[in-house]
Symmetry: C2
Subunit: 219 residues, 2 copies
DNA sequence: GATGATTTGTACGTATGTATA
DNA sequence: ATATACATACGTACAAATCAT
């Protein structure tokens, strides 16, 4: 009945620490002392070590042998690298979705997108952010390629903290919605190259919006 | 002087086990017993565990909590998934290289490719395989994007065991060389979309060649 | 289905390498 | 530069869960 996941301590810890990092509780550059974390979560150092290793494989923390682990500090240059990589990955997903989606998946993508229109008109930023997430997730799934899904999802999660303000500016919701529409039409009609290009365009605009925000914050 | 890497046991083990898997010494589906590996390499279970976790993050092994780890068994379907994902990644790399490579990098790519011609004419399969590897590596580096480089490299390594016979058929060397030439011209001339398309074409042909081989082997 | 054997997951102690005074 | 302090890496022991009978 109950398909209990039966997680192990290390996995739970990895999740907890990841959440703490992504929520900004553990700030970039912070040293991750094994004993301290072990005390905080009331376990021994062993599962803490394994959790740190797992997080290192996602790029969330960095481990230097014998020198401890730190929360990865993301420079603006690295952030641009991440955005560019995600743009390429998502463009590939859109391309493959245009090739591989079943008719049912195409209809589902369209109906989801249509349902989002109301959120735009209501100016519901939070609701749109959620719908936006699902839109992209549907495009991951449409590739029918677990490897690409995994890679794109991992990058998206990693960039999550830096996207919080992405729908802040005036008209951003409407513009994002319009871009989604271009992607949608290309994907649904099987325009493979068009889907690729539309997604690249979309993500590059998101990146631009972010970079403008960081500049504004720096000023 | 000697920038001694000072690797840790876990890293050395991860490398050793990875080599054993990629060389076919440890066959897919084989159970990786921690104690057995610890005995074989004369260490305790702790570094073995960490090595296994690290390998799991690359997809080389799979760990089921409380149920042990096994060398990942790759079905033909998953293999196609891997090839498709790598094709997309490499196409992205070619695209970005066409955008971002410095003049020096473009010249280096061309000179490397030109140097490969002799190997083709000599029918040196092994030499060409090595040159082929470098050609693709140069395109990874040309992206100036460490994330994509890492992802593409990881996928390429993982597919290595299945590519051993890729230059087996008659005329394969010459055909591959010609495809490289198309990629090269697009990248060097900054034809962004052309580089993307040429690489997708190239990798899809490699995949086809492989699939024909597996069918031949199955028959 | 219960019991025993085997293996993983966790705790803890020790030593080596790193950093600091 | 040498020595001291400390955290990590590894080894070992125990607990808990899976599997085999």
């Amino acid at each position: 009945m109950d398909q209990a996941p039966k997680r192990t301590q290390s996995e739970l810890l990895a999740q907890a620490i990841a959440d703490a990092i992504l929520s900004g509780d553990l700030k970039p550059g912070l040293r991750l002392d094994e004993q301290t974390l072990a005390n905080r979560y009331a376990v021994s150092r062993t599962p803490v070590r394994e959790a740190i290793r797992q997080l290192a494989s996602t790029g969330l923390v960095e481990v230097r042998p014998r020198r401890g682990a730190v929360v990865t500090v993301v420079t603006p240059e690295q952030l641009e690298t991440l955005f560019i990589a995600m743009g390429e990955l998502e463009a590939s997903c859109a391309r493959l979705s245009a090739m591989c989606m079943t008719p049912i998946e195409r209809r589902r993508l369209r109906s989801h997108h249509d349902g989002t229109r109301a959120l735009v008109e209501a100016g519901d930023r939070e609701g749109f952010a959620e719908a936006n997430q699902l839109f992209h997730t549907l495009l991951y799934a449409g590739t029918h390629n677990s490897i690409l899904m995994e890679m794109a999802g991992s990058l998206r999660r990693r960039l999550q903290p830096y996207r919080s303000a992405q729908f802040r500016g005036a008209g951003r919701l409407a513009r994002s919605f319009a871009e989604h529409e271009a992607i949608l039409e290309a994907v649904v009609s099987g325009d493979v190259a068009g889907a690729h290009g539309a997604m690249l365009h979309h993500v590059s605009l998101v990146e631009d919006a972010f970079l403008r925000l960081t500049e504004a914050n720096a000023a």
